[in-house]
Subunit: 208 residues, 2 copies
């Protein structure tokens, strides 16, 4: 199963709401939120109404209660332990995000790599051999994993993770992974992120 | 300026169209494309019609001509040189993507870091001090940059890049950067990518 785009929009709204709150605002209109998130006000209202959230035409939405609903919807009222498989440059970069993830109720519990020289239990993120995955996943009720191994190893690692009960995967390997329908997969495509920027630069070059 | 969500959807359709083509299909319906991209068929048709692309109710869209239109729209008919600022784990991981970027018409031309021990011109990606940015950017007509420095340095690096003419930025630093309206910024938020997965797992736990 892939992630529906309305879910990513709701998360984008959540980030924008956090910023508005930081700036001292207590209420917000669909127009402000759409502007900040890059969508139309109609889209904002439609997305919220899907989840039974309605605003007031004159007074807009109340930021704190909106954040509370979104936090509950995204399970942010509890901590989620996740694992990383593949401790190359990307895996190590992701492991550094742990401090930040904690505040978001996500905690990278352990990392795994095939290379014995990367295994350690003394400092920073613990790194284990792949053979430890079943044990650590089942003992710690872990259901989400990040794959950051080379493309050639990614499908095999993906199959192994699903076999031991992983239900959600964030994939950084530059390959589209096949997963059964009960597993949620999020392919993070770096080329796409660059291409989206180039679209605007390309458009500007055309119209000047 | 931030990236509108319809642009990211078009790029998602492009990836799905590539996969359909690989599988030997020549035509596709908005239903198939919506299903593969995680949006409704109506959304697919609406997004395409914004760019004057219309399908045939009975025969759907022709994949090759659709890909051609999208490639032109996203400037994929020419090569775009980009730079990376910050060669920590994330920067080095991104630099490894170069081979893949080439096929997408994006080429990482050079990287920059404040740390002299990371500078080299002999192997792999050339890494220069930040003082070389103005010269290299202007001589090679570079308009896009990736920021992968620590959060504390990111706004300063961002300002420097804009001063020398960078118009598009992909930001990996875990901070929301302020840019003038003529600059396109794409914040890649790793927490959001994980949160989107957790939404589905959370939903399943609730409904079982």
């Amino acid at each position: 199963m892939i992630i529906k785009s309305n879910i990513k929009r709701l998360l984008q709204y959540r980030i924008c709401l956090g910023k508005f709150k930081e700036l001292g605002f207590t209420r917000v209109y669909s127009y402000n939120l759409g502007n900040a998130a890059g969508v139309s006000p109609e889209q904002v209202r439609k997305d919220f109404s899907t989840y039974g959230i309605t605003g007031n035409k004159k007074a807009g939405y109340e930021i704190s209660s909106l954040l509370e609903i979104l936090n509950r919807l995204f399970g942010m009222d509890k901590t989620h332990n996740i694992i990383i498989v593949g401790m190359g440059n990307m895996g190590r970069a992701l492991a550094n995000y742990n401090e930040r993830f904690i505040t978001q109720h996500v905690y990278i519990y352990a990392a795994f790599d095939m290379d014995p020289s990367k295994h350690n239990k003394t400092s920073g993120m613990p790194v284990f051999p792949l053979s430890k995955i079943p044990d650590i996943v089942s003992k710690n009720d872990i259901t989400t994993a990040i794959i950051s191994v080379p493309a050639i190893a990614a499908q095999e690692v993906c199959n192994l993770l699903i076999d031991v009960g992983i239900k959600g995967i964030l994939n950084f390997a530059p390959i589209v992974l096949k997963v059964p329908d009960h597993v949620v997969i999020n392919h993070l495509n770096l080329s796409t992120e660059i291409d989206a920027i180039i679209y605007y630069l390309n458009e500007k070059l055309d119209t000047r």
